[in-house]
């Protein structure tokens, strides 16, 4: 009876210590990636290749999602505002919610699912097939050669993808508001211009997407590098990237919003 209870408490302690040591490894790993960045910049070809697979190949899902999110936002905003005769403000609602929240957050969620999981699977498989150890045997630093370009490509791609998402979303909102619902096109742009601040809204949205890009890329490359090198462990690591990445985005979004927009 007492032994059973002690076992439970030991399991709890074991779990806590394991989680803490994982957090510590993730930080040590991040420092190693930073150290590897300078060496990686000597070979920009590596970065270009990763920008292609992380950024360019994520573009289509971002454009399609942005278009439809913008169109839905315009429809819903119109429905809510038309009762007050304020349907000209549809553009303000669409643009502000895209720039401040939906652009960075949805882009980051899609990015975690599309690019983050791929990064984890790629690095994890390299570990499982001992390619990373092979590099070390040849005196090639795998963090510098494999991880750093992928991490940097993620950090660079996210703000660009978020900007494209918001721009396409605004165009989708324009399509619905002006072409479908018959609002005035001049009022659409001028209302948005009178309410949207360059640094307050667009700038803070870009800072958000940069932070999300950093965190998602960090989680993705760490989960891949730290995974248990079996097919089962690789599957778990990929799942963890998407789950932890998405949760981190949503929690960080609340913290950043509270810091930036609460006055």
């Amino acid at each position: 009876m007492v032994n059973n209870l002690l076992d439970r408490i030991q399991a709890l302690g074991h779990g806590t210590l394991a989680a803490l040591s994982r957090l510590g490894r993730a930080n040590v790993f991040l420092m190693a990636v930073f150290a590897g960045l300078s060496g990686m910049l000597m070979r920009p070809g590596l970065l270009v290749k990763q920008l292609f697979s992380v950024g360019v190949q994520t573009l289509i899902i971002i454009v399609v999602a942005g278009l439809f999110v913008g169109m839905v936002m315009a429809l819903q905003a119109y429905y809510a505002l038309v009762d007050f005769g304020a349907e000209d403000s549809v553009s303000v609602m669409v643009v502000l919610s895209l720039l401040r929240e939906l652009g960075p957050v949805i882009t980051a969620l899609l990015f975690a699912g599309r690019a983050g999981s791929a990064l984890t699977a790629e690095i994890g498989l390299m570990k499982a097939t001992e390619q990373l150890s092979g590099m070390e045997m040849m005196a090639v630093n795998p963090v510098e050669r494999v991880v750093a370009p992928r991490f940097l490509a993620g950090v660079i791609s996210m703000p660009l993808l978020a900007a494209i998402f918001s721009a396409v979303g605004v165009m989708g909102g324009y399509l619905v508001a002006v072409q479908m619902l018959g609002l005035d096109s001049g009022a659409f742009w001028s209302q948005a211009q009178s309410k949207v601040e360059l640094f307050e809204d667009l700038g803070n949205g870009m800072i958000k997407s940069l932070v999300f890009g950093f965190v998602v890329s960090w989680i993705a490359v760490f989960e891949g590098y730290d995974c248990i090198p079996t097919s089962e462990g690789l599957g778990q690591a990929t799942t963890r990237t998407v789950v932890y990445g998405s949760l981190a985005i949503l929690i960080l979004d609340f913290v950043l919003t509270a810091l930036m927009f609460s006055k």
């Binding site: 070809g45 643009v95 791609s157 900007a163 211009q193 009178s194 949207v196």
Partner: protein, 152 residues
Amino acid sequence: MNTRTLELLVGLFVAAGLAALFMLAMSVSNLASFGGDEGYIIKARFDNIGGLKVRSPVSASGVRIGRVTDISYDSEGFEALVSMSIDPQYNTFPIDSSASILTSGLLGEQYIGLEPGAEEEYLVAGSMIDITQSALVLEQIIGQFLYSKADE
């Protein structure tokens, strides 16, 4: 895929991202109305500023000519002291011009309307506008209405 196509696509991606950023900055944000901060500052006292905020527009005949730059409370005169920055190209407002706090639309935001006077001298940086009209506060209007009804 060879290096050229790869680099071409990445270049297009980065260019599209920057173009999107540029489009957002130019067409939906207030970048076009920047640069009005170098205007000259004039001040006015109001009994009540209602919902006026820093960066609210200042307009004359409906044309935006400046912005509110600062709002403070003068604890000696028990009045609100509003500073506004006026675009330097509009530098011929007579010194007896009046300022009133108006509302755009029924429930819209509040702004300052400048009404030009008739004097020969012009308002310059640091001038004080003497003739002002406060914001209409709904509760006060209703109160006055009820009061006048009671008198009948």
